[in-house]
C-alpha cells in the first residue's frame, strides 16, 4: 500500500498536502510538520444499536475520587467510562493530585497508574512523601498497547496515564508527542474507557500560552477537560473545568499545596480575604463559582503619574478590561483618572466571572476623590 505523507499543524491538527509557513486554521507560524498518513483501525466487531430505554442507568452512577474538590469539579464524581484530561503548567501538581486520587480510588477497586515521565522509584518517593499507601499498581511504560494490555489483564477499575504527550501507539509511525501520536493514543484510551467502562485520567502538558499542547481534537475526544491553575510561588491552586459532559463547567476546585500534597480548601472565601479589608482601596465582592459563593477581595491604588501616559498594572485581571473600567469611571462617573497610575490586584485570580467586575471600580473611587 502506498504511504502518503501529510503536513499537520502541531497546534490545531490542521492537515494540508503541502508545507505551509502559517497554519490557515489557527494562524500559528512554523507549526506545520510532515508526518506519515495513518488510518486508525476500526474495532474488530461492529457495534449494534440499542433503544435508549434499554440502556442501563447504572452506568450513570458516580464514584467519589475521595477528594471533595475534585468531585465538585467533575460534577459529583467519576462516571463509568469517563475520560478526564487534566492540563496545567509543569510543577503545578497534576501528578501529585492524581497520585492522591489513585490512592483514594484504590480502596474502591484496582488502580493502574501508568507513567511515561517518571520511574517507579520517583513515584515511590513521592508517595512516601505524601504518606500514601502502596495499593496502586505502577507501570512505567510509553506504549499505549502495553498499558491497555496490562489494564485488561489486571482488570483495573481506574486507569491514570501520565502523560498523553509521552505515549506512543504502534499504529502511528511518528515520534511520541507528535499530533498523530497524541490523537491516536487519546483515541485508543477513550475507546478502552467506553468499551470497558473504566474511568481514565489523562495528564496533558500546556503550551506557553496556557492551552493544552497538542491538537484541539484531543479536547473533543475526551469527556472532561480540567485545567490546573495557580502561581508556582503561591501555595494556592485552582482547578477549573473547561468542558464537562457530566456536569457543570462553572465549578471551581480550590487546593493548597502543602508538604503532604494537595489539600482541598473547602472554605476558600476566608483564604481570599486579607486582614486589611477595611483599608481604602479594598472592596470585597461576592461571586458565584458554580454552586458555591466565594468572597473575593479586590485591591486598587491610584497615584499621580509622572509620565505622559499613565501606568496601568493589574494582577488577576485582564489589563484591557481594567483599562475599560477606568475609562467608564472617567467618562460616566466623573472621576479624573487619565493622569493617574492605576494598580489593581485580585485575590486568587477569581475575576473571571462578570458579576465580580463591579468590585473593581468600587476600589478606585476613594482614591480618585
Amino acid at each position: 500500500m502506498k504511504q502518503k505523507s501529510v503536513f499537520v499543524c502541531g497546534e490545531c491538527g490542521y492537515e494540508t498536502p503541502r508545507w505551509l509557513g502559517r497554519c490557515p486554521q489557527c494562524g500559528s507560524w512554523n507549526t506545520i510538520v510532515e508526518e506519515e498518513r495513518v488510518s486508525l483501525k476500526a474495532p474488530s466487531a461492529p457495534s449494534k444499536a440499542v433503544p435508549l430505554k434499554d440502556v442501563s442507568a447504572q452506568a450513570g452512577q458516580r464514584t467519589s475520587t475521595g477528594i471533595g474538590e475534585l468531585d465538585r469539579v467533575l460534577g459529583g464524581g467519576l462516571t463509568s467510562g469517563m475520560t478526564v484530561l487534566i492540563g496545567g503548567s509543569p510543577g503545578i501538581g497534576k501528578s501529585t493530585l492524581l497520585l492522591q486520587c489513585a490512592d483514594h480510588l484504590s480502596k474502591v477497586g484496582p488502580v493502574l497508574y501508568a507513567s511515561g515521565e517518571e520511574s517507579r522509584h520517583q513515584i515511590r518517593l513521592r508517595a512516601d512523601r505524601l504518606g500514601l499507601g502502596g495499593e496502586v499498581l505502577l507501570l512505567c511504560e510509553n506504549s499505549v498497547e502495553s498499558i491497555l494490555a496490562e489494564a485488561e489483564s489486571r482488570k483495573v477499575s481506574f486507569l491514570i496515564v501520565d502523560s498523553i504527550q509521552t505515549m506512543f501507539t504502534e499504529d502511528a509511525p511518528s515520534s511520541p508527542g507528535s499530533v498523530t501520536q497524541i490523537r491516536g493514543s487519546a483515541a485508543k484510551f477513550t475507546r478502552y474507557a467506553k468499551e470497558s467502562g473504566t474511568p481514565v485520567f489523562l495528564v496533558g502538558h500546556v503550551t506557553k500560552e496556557g492551552a493544552l499542547a497538542g491538537p484541539k481534537v484531543l479536547e473533543h475526544i475526551v469527556d472532561t477537560v480540567l485545567y490546573f491553575e495557580g502561581d508556582r510561588q503561591e501555595g494556592l491552586r485552582l482547578l477549573r473545568s473547561e468542558k464537562n459532559r457530566f456536569g457543570s463547567t462553572n465549578e471551581l476546585g480550590v487546593f493548597e499545596m502543602t508538604d503532604k500534597g494537595m489539600a482541598p480548601v473547602p472554605d476558600p472565601s476566608g483564604l481570599f480575604l486579607s486582614a486589611a479589608r477595611t483599608a481604602p482601596g479594598c472592596a470585597v465582592g461576592c461571586v458565584l463559582e458554580g454552586s458555591r459563593p466565594l468572597l473575593a477581595e479586590v485591591q486598587a491604588l491610584l497615584c499621580p503619574s509622572v509620565y505622559g501616559s499613565p501606568r496601568r498594572t493589574a494582577v488577576g485581571m485582564d489589563v484591557p478590561r481594567f483599562n475599560m473600567l477606568l475609562a467608564v469611571l472617567e467618562r460616566r462617573a466623573g472621576l479624573r483618572l487619565s493622569d493617574k497610575d492605576a494598580y489593581l490586584s485580585v485575590a486568587g485570580s477569581l475575576l473571571r466571572r462578570p458579576s465580580a467586575r463591579w468590585a473593581s471600580p468600587a476600589t478606585c473611587g476613594p482614591w480618585a476623590r
Binding site: C286, S291, L294, P361, A362, G365
Partner: protein
C-alpha cells in the same frame, strides 16, 4: 443572590451593598441598595489613613 448573602453573613459581614431591587430577609444582615458604583463608594465610610 440568596446564597451570596448567606456567605457574606457567614463570614461576619453585617451590611452588604446590593443592586436596587434585590430583596432578602436574613436576620443580622442589612441590605443597602445602590444605583451605581459611584453611589457605592460615597456610601462607604473609609477609616482615616
Amino acid at each position: 443572590m440568596n446564597a451570596r448573602l448567606k456567605e457574606c453573613l457567614r463570614l461576619g459581614y453585617t451590611s452588604v451593598l446590593v443592586p436596587e431591587g434585590v430583596r432578602g430577609d436574613l436576620p443580622g444582615l442589612r441590605l443597602v441598595p445602590i444605583r451605581n458604583v459611584l453611589e457605592a463608594s460615597s456610601l462607604v465610610a473609609y477609616p482615616a489613613e
